[in-house]
């Protein structure tokens, strides 16, 4: 059984201007020790998805439907007390900006001990010992000294290492990392990503990595989820998605990268921009930007405009696109069967 099972999740924000549907029918699973990437542009709903896993959605946001099952238990209906046991103990989170996450008026040691004491009945001295041990695991030089330092005394890369150490404090089963390296430089980003990868493999921790950087996803994760306007539009093994994306949006996203074009030539841009979540187009949300949704007569296809695409299996990927469905269904039956049974 999967460790985390999210099915048909709907998250809405009740704003004065009307309801914003931030997540619509999002489903995915995560196995023990698996590394899953969630990719999308800003406004795609990937951070909301991450927050919802820990039930961290605050008013005016609320879970309108669907379920999140973690280790067999339903999180959406759990009491705050019980949720407290899951957060930190079993699922921990790493946020984008380490300076915002660390408390500036407490030393590193105080914050780590505080976290341990909140979850376990433990003596301060033992807690400090565990903290020290975790700092060693994330390769922080002279960890004894760091425990008594304040966050502002450390560099950005060092702070993010501390955040990772705190995330590991209670030996969680899952780490949710929301853009963990966006605020860092490339050389530091490479170090942090390598560290996360190493720790997840060593301790068999599952990772949900949320990022807009396809390069990072391709190097760290095994499976990838692509989101657009609050929906998952494609999911499958990372390698297959990067090398052979099926959904026109994923293709566009990969082709828009500068490394995919000949130097000096124009880049392959996707026209237009992501729709606002308060006002998403009917049918496939991507259809106004999609070149495949135009038929031979130069008109938008009716199904793209009106019908929300459901998932269709292509290779090992699930793709929500009318065009891909047609392609798959037009394949000879024998071919399709072969693909069904791996």
């Amino acid at each position: 059984m999967a460790l985390l099972e999210v099915s048909n999740l709907d998250v809405r924000f009740a704003l004065r201007q009307g309801e914003v549907k931030a997540l619509r029918g999002v489903s995915f699973t995560l196995d023990r020790g698996e590394r899953l990437g969630i990719v999308g542009e800003s406004g795609a709903g990937k951070s909301v998805a991450a927050f919802t896993i820990l039930n961290l959605i605050a008013k005016p946001g609320y879970i309108a439907g669907g379920s999140i099952r973690f280790d067999g238990r339903e999180l959406t209906t759990m009491k705050p007390r019980q949720l407290q046991q899951v957060r930190g103990n079993q699922v921990s989170m790493i946020f984008q900006d380490p300076m915002m996450t660390l408390n500036p008026v407490l030393t590193i040691g105080e914050q780590m001990v505080e976290c341990l004491k909140a979850h376990r009945r433990i003596r301060s001295r033992d807690a400090r010992e565990i903290a020290l041990n975790k700092l060693r695991q994330v390769y922080i030089p002279s960890p004894e000294r760091r425990l008594d330092q304040y966050p502002h005394e450390l560099s950005g890369g060092m702070r993010q290492r501390i955040i990772i150490a705190i995330a590991l404090l209670l030996d969680p089963d899952v780490i949710v990392a929301d853009e963990p390296t966006t605020a860092l430089d490339v050389t530091i980003q490479a170090e942090i990503m390598e560290l996360l990868l190493e720790l997840c493999e060593k301790h068999n921790v599952a990772l949900i990595l949320i990022t807009h950087d396809l390069g990072v996803v391709s190097q760290v994760t095994q499976r990838t989820l692509v989101m657009y306007a609050g929906r998952v539009i494609e999911q499958g093994p990372t390698r297959e998605i990067i090398n052979d994306a099926q959904h026109p949006y994923t293709q566009g996203l990969i082709n828009a990268l500068p490394q995919m074009a000949t130097p000096g030539q124009r880049l392959n841009q996707i026209p237009g921009s992501m729709p606002s979540l308060a006002n998403t187009p009917p049918g496939c949300a991507f259809h106004p930007r999609c070149s495949f949704s135009v038929d031979a007569n130069g008109e938008r296809r009716r199904d793209c405009r009106e019908v929300i695409p459901t998932f269709v299996r292509s290779g090992n990927c699930d793709v929500a696109c009318h065009m891909v469905r047609e392609l798959v269904e037009s394949r000879p039956a024998g071919d399709a069967e072969q693909r069904e049974a791996p």
Partner: protein, 352 residues
């Protein structure tokens, strides 16, 4: 949008104008005082009052030439001084030492009045289009202001005509002129910021991380726009960025900076094919790639030192795997090495 540019065309353009230096930076330095005013600098030490001043050494002797018609990219990690160089070129900061020549004329010591004719020829695009557009001005007003300022003799029709033309060229409907900045998306705002730079018909544009705040699909749109504008108006770019993939695509030449000094200057192709400086090598190997071959990047030990107390000798020696005694002692100069310029003792001695 204009036609797809052929690579051969682009090269012809470059070679026709090659050699002519538009902007020359020599021995540029910038120090920011860290220790407050006179009274705050006084310390009581050993029974005596002593005055102690501390500085952030942001730029420490930078030489760069920008040739007419090229896109010179400046890359480096945060704190390496790349934005400070851009700001000094535009006259937004004054250098502590060194000189900046534009089209042969020294411009770094000019008064604001004397600088005015140059301001029309050089324009800047900033990183964050949410902050660089005045929220109280409509798009029309934003684009009108520089024109009225630089062309006081133009009449209203001429100004409106020019604005409509520039808005159309960046893909913003001229009908939207009455709207305000907040009504637009990030990509559209950056287009407006680019329109504001283009409206006075400059020949040189300094772009400080113009696409870093934008999403991937929007980045491609804005980069294409910048390349179209370059072709249409024969622009020269000084392009500041930390994104090496963009550099590889966009730049004709690249300057790699570290801690206020230049490590390497090279043609884009040769820099990516064969980086010489150990820092450039580490930087290039750190880019997350889409390809399957897993991360085999060069690990740097330690972190960027503080620019308050600069390391002696080569600023990179503390993290460099090839550093020796000479690197710790002596500051390396930029030397010619197979077409590129490298500041490294190891490359000079043939060790690396």
């Amino acid at each position: 949008m204009s036609e797809v540019m052929k690579p051969s065309q682009r090269q012809d353009d470059d070679s026709a104008q090659a050699g002519e230096t538009l902007l020359q930076i020599r021995g540029l330095e910038k120090h920011f005082p860290l220790s407050g005013d006179f009274l705050e600098q006084l310390r009581f030490e050993g029974g005596k009052l002593k005055r102690r001043q501390e500085f952030v050494h942001a730029i420490n002797g930078v030489d760069i030439d920008v040739k007419r018609g090229e896109s010179l990219c400046v890359v480096g990690e945060s704190g390496c001084g790349k934005s400070t160089v851009a700001r000094m070129v535009m006259g937004l900061l004054s250098p502590s030492a060194g000189e900046i020549r534009y089209d042969g004329q020294r411009i770094d010591h000019l008064s604001p009045g004397q600088l005015l004719p140059y301001r029309r020829r050089m324009q800047m695009i900033f990183q964050n289009p949410y902050a660089s557009l005045n929220p109280r001005m409509s798009i029309q007003q934003t684009l009108e202001e520089p024109l009225r300022f630089h062309h006081p003799d133009w009449n209203r029709e001429r100004i409106l005509e020019k604005i409509a033309e520039v808005m159309a060229s960046v893909g913003i409907d001229p009908e939207w002129g009455k709207r305000f900045g907040h009504e637009f998306s990030g990509g559209q705002r950056q287009r407006i910021a680019i329109a504001r730079a283009l409206v006075v018909e400059p020949e040189f544009i300094v772009a400080d991380e113009p696409i870093s705040a934008l999403d991937v699909s929007i980045q491609a749109q804005v980069l294409n726009l910048l390349m179209d504008a370059q072709e249409a108006h024969h622009l020269t770019y000084l392009f500041i960025t930390h994104d090496l993939a963009v550099v590889e695509h966009f730049g004709t030449r690249v300057v790699v900076m570290y801690l206020g000094r230049v490590c390497e200057i090279a043609e884009t192709r040769s820099l990516f094919d064969r980086p010489r400086h150990p820092y450039t090598q580490a930087l290039l190997s750190a880019i997350p790639r889409l390809e399957d071959d897993g991360p085999d990047h060069i690990k740097l030990s330690g972190e960027v030192p503080t620019p308050v107390n600069l390391p002696s000798g080569c600023v990179f020696h503390g993290r460099c795997p090839h550093a020796n005694e000479r690197c710790r002692r002596e500051i390396p100069r930029l030397i010619e090495a197979q077409g590129s310029q490298v500041a490294c003792h190891g490359v000079e001695e043939g060790r690396i």
